[in-house]
Symmetry: C2
């Protein structure tokens, strides 16, 4: 034997999970608390390790110790193991440091044999109970310890039921069960050539070894691999030997399960059911309907009070809503197990907030208890979880939330129907910038092509609209205005429902449930705000999105994209005119038409965010994105034959599109590169922003615009744009007679900008990480290409542990750390944010906290997630190393 | 006046360039050496600064100092300023710390007035000489000091020549020149309302101020801006007042210019010409033919010896071949100026090597004297510099060297004609991988489209073949098989010449000169090898290129690209078959056909580089590069109508090409990403390499293959490929019974690989920087797009000081430094090279030296450049900070 004790009783006051496993430690803990737990002991996990070291044999001397322990158990229970007069029965249960529900084996009612069964029948006055327990024990023991196929037992059971005309197991009487016991024993003798062991200690030895063996069963090994349970977390199972108690010993016996709070709502109070005169199995069998626990109060106020009291004590002790199994044996309450309750997000939030208010846990604990991702399900409509209708097709879930509406097949039709008061779902093979008005008009978007970064996905997420993309199971015919899925044809005007959380597409209206914003969430987020050090801003391009973000607690706008405004149907033609300009003068003329439109946009957004900073990014995409592509133009040209003017116009556009075409547009002529080569475009945008701000300032509205330049790689680029901004600012401030509260800064989304941050900070009052592009540059991965081609294989093969476009990679984090350090060295008060999609990812937010960023910016619907994640990071990282450690 | 002395005489032994300017310091230096220099003094640059501080006025008291200095000059010359009997005339010359040839003003013959001119005529007995000097002085003084338009003087000169029937100026006699002086003076009186100043000191004061003023003339300011001459380099001009000497005082006077070594060949010995009885101007006017300097020996052995002796002393003193101006005045030799001679590359190399052998300079100085880029012009055939025929068109010079041949318009024709013994130039709109056999068959390549990184440019450079790309001045008609340029039509078979150094395209055969490898270059490179610490390897994909590289001194192959081998016409169909495979089995079958071909390639290259390392990069480009593009396929499909089998084949290929298409191929599914998703491709290549090596090893050939993986971003990728290599290696070593001398390593061309170098070095025995891709990732610039679109504007606007794709940028260098540090921390003996095009760029090689790289790898023709650059870096960087400083 090893150095430690092999066997520890529940009442020894030791509750070491690693040594005793979760179940043993829990039972010991409850025993210590004076909770009525059936007596018993634990054979430690150390013995399990010795079992495997010795070639799957129980260590020498163990069974002597077990015998001594059983003697003590007899003393504690006043019963005797193997004694027909007053028999002690035990359960032999597994239990590792980490719960692996249902993976390992358990044997109940151990200690029964022919004589003991007869004695038990006498002692309880219930023959049927005794033989029912006996036949169940033989079946379980035969299967688990002796390795006899379960089907043989089941066949024997079915046979006897047929013979006796019994419909249910419970229809068998004591005599029939006695006969069944005989037949079970015959099966064992036939299969093994030796009889079922009548000796209780032989039974016990076999059961202990069987539980140890189950630790290395294939399903257990697979489970541990799947959930990354390594030996440092849990190494072997313990074996718990527990005195049996019975809930089926008559009308004053029962069994049940209760929660200390409603696992669906989090509401405080005992919640659960029980079954009189029953065993746990009977509940599962579903033959009898359990009663709500409250009925126990009427039946036995004493027992009910005792249960309530114990539940409350357990919850207070474990500081978590508990899921408790109990049995009442002839008027005596026994607690068999307690564990932390599994709850949905709403219940978790409500119970955590309540428990903090009740003083059971601290606010920090409440915050750490709720996973930020869980909030997401509360912030969107979703398909009623009780609905289980079949989906027409399943695509890629691209933007959460569910929506119902009639299918329409182009953006104009969507707008028309929307104006007419209909709710529509826009269905397209893929979407384009010119479909933008269709997005505004729709409840949700469904595409048959594209991935999570397709145009449809990105725009829908930005607007917080449900979206399913890449739904290859539907085949769209835009001419006939219908789609086919399986055998179904969905025509324009037919009602469909999409679920952007699961990717499912349903025919017709499916029941949806509303987002639940109540139930403690506002309080939890208010507490989170007390702890977080990171600011939280929103990515929002419209006044509506800005207002929504503000409602969700955004402290400003971290990213307002101006190119979206270029795509509105009334503007795109002017943008095209600007791009087609033959010289700067023509270009300036077109820009002159755009300027008042942009100014109007900015005024609305700045007004919506009064008093808060609004970071506006100047034009980012390459100009060719605003032109139809070459293939489209070729088609249009074909169609325009015979109309010389139109042909000429298209021919010119084709030439321009060809001249602007790029091999790698992601790395092409875009962002500040356009700003440097066509300064008049940025000048127009800067003027629109500053005049909007100045007009509002004169109205007395407090505005804080921040001008942000995309794609900067060199301090010199930023310097060139700053000269434009300074010039326009001086002019506008002079003309309006106001002093603007303006900041000038840059996206950090190019690798070089991180490396040269010290130089760049000379011209920038703020940085904002664009981690999507930064990740692309760091990995040399084009996200669009990677996510469709090799990235899934990389994750599958374990070359990547996670998708770096969802969570910040360590290489990218290192670049960010260099940037933060060097930027702040030049400008200690440098404001540094993040506005890539990572800004809404909890794991990435923790990295941002560690890097010492000023704020994260996320889409409006992710604001609560970000607030919570930022607080959790602050709480968890107290005293941890800062950015310097990462660099 | 300021604290220092304002005036310093040449004989004071002070030769401070910053204070005295280059000319003054040179004259002082020569005076110190006892060289006969006309006496004189320098008014310092400090006075110039005071001149500007005081609002363009000479400082108080300066003219008193000048008067005192003139007294001393009178003593030194025995002549008197303004004295008609024995007049002292002076030149007033500019001279800044940095030479700005021709930018500032000079006044000669100052001190002449009516009386002095008459006296000079008497004293020299040469009235014509005296009045010629006088009228030249008035003209120069009038223009420079008084600001009278030069055209007025020229008109007066032309008038008098017409009146006197004189053809040349020299046809005017003394009387006519006297008359001209009168008219000049009348012009000045009329223009200024005051007469020409007869007082020599008034003249001197005016001239000094005029020279100072010329420092801030527009052309001077522009020049300084252009050449980045900032005040810390040169701040103001000095003024040199020098006693005049005259080479036109009779037959025992002369003037000339000599070099101490032939500036065209570097051959040692006096080289130059002189003109008896003449002034410098007469040489420039070109009326009389100068005599070779050797004739002076016959005329006056004493003066010739004196000149030789002084030349040698000056060269030894300045340790550089000198360019010397001299005047002989009545038998007395005066040296007026000496400066370092301008030489072509051949002369520079030869003279530097000779001077080192003569003990004048050290080997290090010889190495530092030759710019590595200068070697390039010696290593290729080039158009005879004397040829000045007109070019048909000018394109982008993409690969140096000149070639003549008949124009052919496709690769197959090129091959046919080449086989028939003709020399051909391949002319295409642009080239594709499938044109590769045309490259092999051609002397040079000309395209009408594409830039320095187009396929044609890259492939031609790799092969060392002359290439002109993007020659938009020619319009190619591939159907008619001709091109037009200006009015000329060049048909297939017509002879043309291209110059890849200048981008020029000529009609017909143009005289070419052979590369000069002699003249000290081998010695210089041998010395360079003694000093350099960087190894030099070659980028070579063929046995021929490998042999050439070895001849040029390569110490191995740093980059052998395997995809080029895939493009050969006999292999491309098999590669396409591999790509079109429906499953792994089909793919393996196609790969099985490729394997022996690749093995053959590797055997030849490994054999050519016996004893030296050969780094072979596994497949890098995305697979779709080997398929025809979608547009081509659509055209082919159109053409295949009615042939169902062909249509079906093309349709399948089109589907595959569409499936493989990428938005940003540069960042797409390529390199190790293909190696990970299709491991059978890398496995085939590894097997081909290792079997080639094993077969040679059994023959007794010493081979050192190095397997290199492209595009690695993660240690996990490299680990996955290493498992393949280890497996194949064990198999091959076992089957052949040899132990291979093999290294396994990776390209470092992805930003993340630099940041995670410590992890990656666990699996890599060597790193090789691919700085082209690394620069793309660091800047988020697609090179192809950037160089055609915004990069030129960036350079023009000074946002980029140089093209980062030619010279390593500091941001990229910083990443490299991080990589070197962390890689070597994991594996101290890590071999680190560079194989991007930067490996042949001298400025980048210096950075590589500083970073502590093991070697650079460059195209064969750049090997000598790299050897020299590496030595220069080692010499210059002695004792400088290492890589740590950059990180």
């Amino acid at each position: 034997m090893g150095p430690g004790k092999s066997i520890i009783f529940f009442d020894e006051g030791i509750a070491d999970r690693k040594l005793l496993g979760g179940k043993g430690a829990g039972l010991a803990e409850m025993t210590k608390l004076g909770i009525p737990v059936p007596p018993g002991f634990t054979i430690t996990t150390e013995v399990c390790r010795l079992f495997y070291k010795g070639g799957e044999r129980l260590p020498d001397g163990l069974m002597e110790e077990v015998r001594r322990a059983m003697k003590r158990l007899e003393e504690l229970t006043g019963k005797r193991f193997g004694d027909p007069e007053n028999p002690l029965l035990v359960s032999v249960r597994s239990g590792a440091a980490i719960s692996m529900p249902g993976m390992m084996d358990t044997v109940l009612n151990l200690g029964l044999n022919d004589r003991v069964a007869e004695g038990l029948a006498r002692a309880t006055g219930d023959e049927r109970f005794a033989y029912d327990a006996y036949r169940r024990f033989i079946q379980l023991f035969g299967k688990i310890v002796l390795g006899v196929e379960e089907s043989l037992f089941n066949r024997a059971l079915e046979e006897i039921k047929r013979e006796r005309g019994a419909e249910y197991d419970t229809d068998l009487d004591a005599e029939a069960l006695k006969e069944l016991v005989k037949r079970y024993k015959a099966i064992i003798l036939e299969r093994l050539g030796r009889p079922f062991p009548e000796d209780p200690y032989e039974q016990l030895e076999g059961a202990i070894a069987a539980v140890f063996r189950s630790w290395n069963s294939k399903r257990c090994v697979d489970y541990r691999r799947q959930f990354k349970i390594t030996p440092d977390i849990a190494d072997g199972t313990a074996v718990n030997v527990v005195a049996m108690v019975f809930g089926n010993m008559g009308p004053d016996s029962s069994t049940g399960v209760v929660f200390t709070r409603d696992p669906a709502t989090g509401e405080k109070g005992l919640y659960g059911d029980y079954l009189p005169n029953a065993q746990g199995e009977d509940v599962v069998a579903g033959i009898r309907t359990p009663r709500p626990i409250q009925e126990l109060e009427a039946e036995s106020p004493r027992l009910y009070r005792e249960l309530v009291e114990i539940s409350e004590r357990l919850e207070r002790y474990f500081k978590y809503p508990q899921d408790i199994e109990f049995t009442i044996e002839r008027g005596k309450l026994w607690i068999l197990q307690t564990r932390n309750a599994k709850m949905n997000a709403a219940a978790k939030i409500r119970s955590s907030v309540d428990m903090a208010k009740e003083g059971i846990i601290s606010k920090e604990e409440a915050i750490l208890r709720v996973e930020p991702e869980e909030l997401e399900q509360l912030l969107h409509k979703r398909v009623d979880p009780k609905f289980n209708g079949e989906a027409l097709a399943v695509g890629v879930p691209a933007s959460p939330g569910a929506a119902s509406g009639i299918a329409v097949f182009d953006a104009d039709e969507a707008e028309r129907r929307h104006r007419a008061g209909e709710r529509v779902i826009l269905v397209r093979e893929e979407t384009k910038p010119e479909d933008i008005h269709g997005f505004f008009a729709s409840e949700g978007i469904l595409t048959s092509r594209g991935g999570k970064t397709s145009h449809a996905a990105v725009v829908a997420r930005g607007m917080g609209k449900p979206c399913v993309v890449g739904c290859s199971g539907i085949s769209i015919d835009p001419v006939e205005r219908l789609f086919r899925a399986g055998g179904v044809v969905v025509k324009e005007g037919d009602l469909i429902t999409i679920d952007g959380g699961s990717g499912k597409v349903y025919l017709g209206q499916v029941p949806l449930v509303e987002p639940e914003l109540a139930g403690g969430l506002p309080e939890l987020l208010a507490w989170a705000d007390e702890f977080r050090r990171l600011g939280v801003r929103a990515n929002a391009d419209t006044p509506e999105a800005a207002a929504l973000a503000r409602k969700f607690g955004a402290e400003g706008i971290g990213l307002c994209r101006t190119e979206r405004m270029f795509n509105a149907p009334d503007r795109l033609p002017v943008v095209v005119e600007m791009i087609m300009a033959e010289d700067e003068a023509q270009r300036r003329a077109a820009l002159g038409k755009l300027e008042p439109m942009q100014k109007g946009d900015f005024k609305e957004i700045l007004r919506a965010m009064e008093g808060l900073p609004v970071t506006i990014r100047l034009l980012d995409p390459p100009l060719h994105e605003f032109l139809p592509n070459v293939e489209e133009l070729l088609r249009s040209l074909e169609a325009a034959k015979g109309k010389p003017d139109e042909e000429e116009r298209l021919r010119r556009m084709l030439a321009r599109a060809r001249a602007l075409a790029e091999v790698n547009p992601m790395l092409g002529h875009r962002g500040v590169r356009v700003g440097v080569t066509h300064p008049e475009i940025y000048e127009m945008q800067v003027r629109a922003i500053l005049e909007a701000a100045a007009e509002l300032a004169r109205e007395g509205v407090a505005v804080k615009p921040q001008i942000m330049i995309p794609q900067v790689a060199m301090a010199e680029e930023l310097e060139a744009v700053k000269r434009i901004v300074d010039g326009v600012r001086a002019d506008v401030e002079g003309r309006y007679g106001v002093k603007l509260d303006l900041k000038f800064g840059t996206m950090i989304e190019v690798v070089r900008a991180c490396l040269m941050a010290g130089d760049i900070a000379k011209y920038a009052e703020f940085f904002s990480f664009g981690t999507n592009d930064l990740t692309q540059g760091t990995f040399s991965f084009s996200r669009e290409d990677a996510e469709n081609k090799f990235l899934p294989k990389y994750m599958e093969r374990g070359i990547l542990a996670f998708n770096p476009f969802q969570t910040i990679d360590k290489g990218v984090a290192r670049l960010m750390a260099i940037c933060v350090q060097e930027g702040r060295r030049t400008r200690p008060d440098l404001e540094i944010g993040i506005c890539g999609e990572h800004g809404g990812d909890p794991a990435s937010i923790e990295i941002c906290h560690e890097l010492g960023l000023t704020y994260v910016s996320a889409s409006p619907y992710r604001i609560p997630v970000a607030r919570l994640a930022a607080a959790r990071a602050a709480i968890r990282r107290r005293g941890a190393k800062g950015a310097a450690g990462l660099a």
